[in-house]
Point group: C2
Chain length 188, copies 2
């Protein structure tokens, strides 16, 4: 399964707000669930929830452990299976360090957003790489009004945005993650 | 744009609960937003929110009008554009009647769920039909533990479920809608 070399990270920091200020956004319950369930469906290795805010880390951990170990684990074992992939970390570097240790080699980072950027690679190209080489990848998604330019500049690869037939491309991050995982790893 | 002959309906009734009792589920704020944004991205004609419960209809209408006409419409015009596609109806028949009047011909209904069923058509097959003929289609998604067997039996077509590489297929309805719209109408 090629998905085992792919992990995703949902960044709550550093991201832009509506006025292009860099902020830390709040953790959203459904971001944890929907993205964990999509990650499990496509056989990913890890789903990192990145937030530097201790209260928000605690909230994400509490939701995760409710479904992994608490009452939720017997009420709905499918949620348990999904949320077992989730790790709450303070920084992107922490996620990269965990992956490097698991794989015994550094991951390549891939960033994606709603805007077209020069030098982006397509989903089919990344899909082929996931099939053909042993390189692990960490695919980053942003909350709020998107990941900061600094993170885009520092990433190893930029993945093309999802475009529909028209000009409107304001998908939720939950939708964007689902569609990109299907484009990369879904059966065609 | 082939999406203009496709509409979707999110059924809050009749659907199963965890114990396979037929129930009406509650409207969820993010179901309205995420699915409306995906519907707008892929150029759909309508997004119907189906619930027979008057309080739930009022809630969905209130959310819709906040973003279409209220304070939200100037705060975030992208939400306005998306939620303009949304219609709150009491029954599936009401949705079908509105579409028949708009198109001047009856729609074909397509139902989908998480389970494999005999006689299902694939996404590429439905995608070709959307390109090749003038027939309008209404694609139904369920909340709770899925659409009842009666609705499956009464539909014109059943669409195959989304399968990842493994056995786990417990996507949220928000993810499932997004992935199926991309498979039907996304640029490949």
């Amino acid at each position: 399964m090629t998905g085992t070399r792919l992990s995703i990270a949902l960044l709550h920091y550093p991201v832009y707000d509506k006025n292009r200020q860099t902020v830390a956004t709040a953790v959203t319950n459904l971001d944890l669930h929907d993205i964990a369930r999509a990650a499990r469906t496509y056989g990913l290795f890890r789903y990192f929830v990145v937030t530097p805010v201790p209260d928000q880390q605690a909230l994400a951990e509490r939701i995760g452990s409710h479904w992994r170990e608490g009452w939720g684990s017997t009420y709905n074992p499918h949620r348990k299976e999904a949320l077992e992939l989730m790790r709450v970390v303070a920084t992107l570097d922490e996620a990269k360090a965990e992956l490097a240790e698991s794989y015994g080699r550094p991951v390549k980072t891939v960033v994606t957003g709603a805007r077209n950027r020069p030098g982006s690679i397509s989903c089919p190209t990344l899909a082929r790489r996931l099939q053909d080489d042993d390189q692990p990848y960490l695919l980053m998604f942003g909350t709020g009004w998107g990941i900061t330019d600094e993170i885009f500049a520092a990433a190893d690869l930029v993945l093309e945005p999802i475009n529909g037939p028209g000009a409107y491309n304001h998908l939720s991050v939950r939708s964007a993650v689902s569609i990109i995982l299907d484009r990369l790893l879904g059966e065609r």
